[in-house]
Amino acid sequence: MTANPILELRHVSASYGAIEVLHDININVAKGEVVALLGPNGAGKTTTIKLACGLMRPNSGSLHIAGQDVTGVPANALARVGVCTIPEGRGIFPNLSVRDNIIMAARDRASISVIEERSYSRFPILKERRDQLAGTLSGGQQQMLSLARGLATDPVVLMLDEMSMGLAPLVLAELYEQVTAIAASGVSVLVVEQFARTVLGVADSAVVLSHGHVRFVGPANQLDDETLSRAYLGS
């Protein structure tokens, strides 16, 4: 699907205990590409993210990043070098200020002022609220903060899990606008989203999962309603 991908899952299968939930899946994300990972509840989307960020080891198959086989490398080691995952539920520290949340995610040796500037230029509202406790922000602003924290790590690969959860469509559109801008700067983005239409507008490619099998891989604009319906509702 993709020449010289930054992130690759090759023939990956994974299970929880005795139950196999992903069966021989292949996913590629190129530099600066947005790949939407779609599918109904229980399709294996979050499991795929866990595998791609090193939180889970596959039963078989391998994870390649920048051409290197990194299967089994722990998530913290991958995160440290620039593989950033923003989990479902945002994962911010609600009892810390906005500024502290951003700073504590920064890469080693990074300039704090540069990181703050980078975050606030993308999300000006966070600058206004930088001394406010993160837990007191609105849902949309918390999601902005989680994205800003992700950017503070200077990521090369960014994975977003269910960013739309609990957000109004208008806020979500604003967030996806930023995701597009982030990808345009060269960051490879893998977006897990239950609401297909929301993300297909910004994605370059799409992968549709259903019951742990890949049902579609290809350009986002070639994903038709019938394939989507079959994946979500069954044939």
Partner: protein
């Protein structure tokens, strides 16, 4: 994101150790620590019994060397390994628990407003 960052990323990825067995290593070292402590204590007891069971000074010295000194060293090394890895695990759980409690507390405060 500039090309330099991508190159740096590629270099850092290439430098990662792909053993990925840190969790297993921790468990193994924790078990080894426990085992060394037990072996150390057993050796010390055996050494003590051997020393008590003979009046020959040379035999007593040998028993002290194997039982007392070796046993003591093994027990200390085992205890250090055990503490290091059991505390590491405890601290991780503690940090997760703390974060969870802070989140719950903040949610409670916000829901009261």
């Amino acid at each position: 994101m500039n090309e330099g960052r991508v190159e740096e990323f590629t270099r850092e990825i290439a430098a990662l150790k792909t053993s990925g067995a840190k969790g297993d290593t921790e468990k193994r070292l924790l078990a080894l620590g426990s085992l060394l402590m037990i072996v150390g204590v057993v050796l010390a007891v055996i050494g003590g019994v051997q020393v008590a069971g003979t009046t020959n000074a040379a035999d007593q010295m040998a028993a002290i060397a194997t039982g007392g000194l070796l046993g003591l060293v093994l027990a200390v090394v085992g205890a250090a390994l055990f503490l290091r890895y059991s505390i590491g695990r405890f601290m991780r759980f503690w940090a997760i628990r703390l974060i969870h409690e802070h989140r719950s507390e903040t949610d409670r405060v916000i829901s009261r407003q």
